[in-house]
Amino acid sequence: MTDLPETTDKKLGLVIDLDICVGCHACVTSCKEWNSQGYGAPLADADAYGPAPEGAFLNRVHSFEVTSEDGPPQLVHFPRSCLHCEDAPCVTVCPTGASHKRAEDGIVLVEESMCIGCGLCAWACPYGAREMDPAEQVMKKCTLCVDRIYNENLPPEDREPSCVRACPTGARHFGDLGDASSAVSQLVAARDGFDLMPEQGTKPVNKYLPPRERDRATAAPALEPVGEAGGFLGWLDRALSRL
């Protein structure tokens, strides 16, 4: 049903630390790997070994350059995936009820057997979080690894989204952002976490942590200008120049 739940019991989501993401794309690769075999149709590619390969991914890592008047320029790696918004515009536009937001944990999912592949949800999402599967012609999106986080066949340490498990720097965190005492909520509070495009009114659940302030080079006093050397060395310099 495409009505959004008034409230959800939990607000499961990710917190992504832009300070320490190194842009290795391990989260992208592990996401693609996990979602090619678990929930729903396998996440497909088109022309994978041809001249113009492309495929559906649920997570993409961009790199941005940030320059300012008074600080050093910074290169910030920026993972982008579904933010599991509280006011998810992708859900309400769905004509079939395939897109839905779960009342129990707030995860936004696509019931693929109901999806007609019209693509309207991908248009409605400001964040580009939904991609059409090139083989199955149904809409794919981040499931927050719903087939891992509740999966009792996995060891407890693996019951978190594949991208979080794969991140080698610990830049990705998973938890309940509706619970103010949870580790992720405290992290967001401590590090001044923010929403992407809050002006779009989507109320994202996922939060991003800003890069910490960088060290700045202290302004060292300029060196004294090197003048014409005098004495023996000066004579030597002039003599050699004349040769």
Partner: protein, 293 residues
């Protein structure tokens, strides 16, 4: 946004069809027998044909019936429900006119309202997408409705009325472009807000996440052909609305004048609809190097 040919043709033809059926249903013309058959058949072919084309455009047309279920939140679902209701309500009225020389005005009037509601629902699919600032404005339904009414009046043979409605369409188009240009320029979303890094400084894309295209870039970061937009706007405005309005106002009412106006309008409105998609920028482009205007 990617200007898909099927969507352009579907919205133009179904708009014309529902416009024509609205005038027939409202009883502005009261054809009977064979004459009625031709008019209703044209209306059904344009409106229904467009709908059918859009169904086959889907990734999974076999599940299309599900699209009637989510009318409480989805304008696309509302469009489907309204379209079927309009065509269904029109059927007894059309049958009465064609076979029994006895139009049933209550059915006709309800169907006429449903026809216009369908056109509005089509336009609201676009107008409610906040992520496309150019569409998210009242001029989007205004243009769709004016185009359907003007084209419908022309097809229904109401030439003087159509002339006036074409003038309204010209104004609606001009307002839509003016508002649209301003909306992207003034849009709150910037690379800084999209990444949240605007608080540190000026944000510029350094590297895309992938070297090739993907669904997002093909569908929503379409940048082809915008350089011709000024010329196409002229064609859309003059051909689609101004010339038909002048033709119908100044020339004596004749089949020739109507035919010329229809031909010009079709060329112009196709150009306008192409621009509607091609000029519309989606905020996701901000993640792919589109700077704020």
């Amino acid at each position: 946004m990617h200007p898909a040919g099927s969507l352009i043709i579907f919205t133009v033809l179904s708009g014309l069809g529902f416009g024509l059926l609205a005038f027939l249903g409202a009883g502005v013309v009261l054809p009977l027998g064979w004459e009625a058959f031709v008019w209703f058949a044209a209306g059904y072919a344009l409106a229904g044909g467009g709908l059918l084309a859009s169904v086959f455009h889907l990734g999974h047309p076999e599940r299309a019936l599900l699209a009637f279920t989510q009318w409480r939140t989805s304008w696309l679902s509302r469009e489907a429900v309204l379209a079927v209701a309009a065509l269904g309500m029109m059927a007894p009225y059309a049958a009465g006119s064609v076979f029994f020389a006895q139009p049933l005005p209550v059915f006709g009037a309800i169907a006429a309202v449903l026809c216009l509601a369908t056109v509005i629902a089509t336009s609201m699919i676009y107008a409610t997408i906040r992520a496309v600032p150019r569409w998210h404005h009242w001029t989007t339904p205004a243009v769709f409705l004016a185009a359907a009414l003007a084209g419908g009046a022309l097809l229904a043979g109401q030439l003087r009325l159509a002339g006036g409605l074409f003038a309204v369409l010209a104004v609606a188009l001009a307002l839509h472009w003016q508002a649209g240009d301003r909306r992207w320029r003034d849009a709150e979303s910037t690379p800084g807000s999209a990444t949240g890094l605007g608080r540190i400084g000026r944000v510029r894309l350094f590297e895309r996440p992938h070297t090739g295209a993907n669904y997002i870039t093909r569908e929503m970061v379409h940048v082809v052909g915008r350089r011709h937009s000024a010329k196409l706007r002229l064609i859309a405005l003059v051909g689609g609305a101004v010339l038909p309005a002048m033709l119908l106002a100044l020339m004596p009412a004749s089949l020739l004048a109507a035919g010329a106006a229809l031909g010009l309008h079709l060329v112009g409105i196709l150009a306008a609809r192409w621009l509607f998609f091609a000029e519309a920028e989606h905020v996701v482009g901000l993640y792919y190097g589109r700077a704020a205007a």
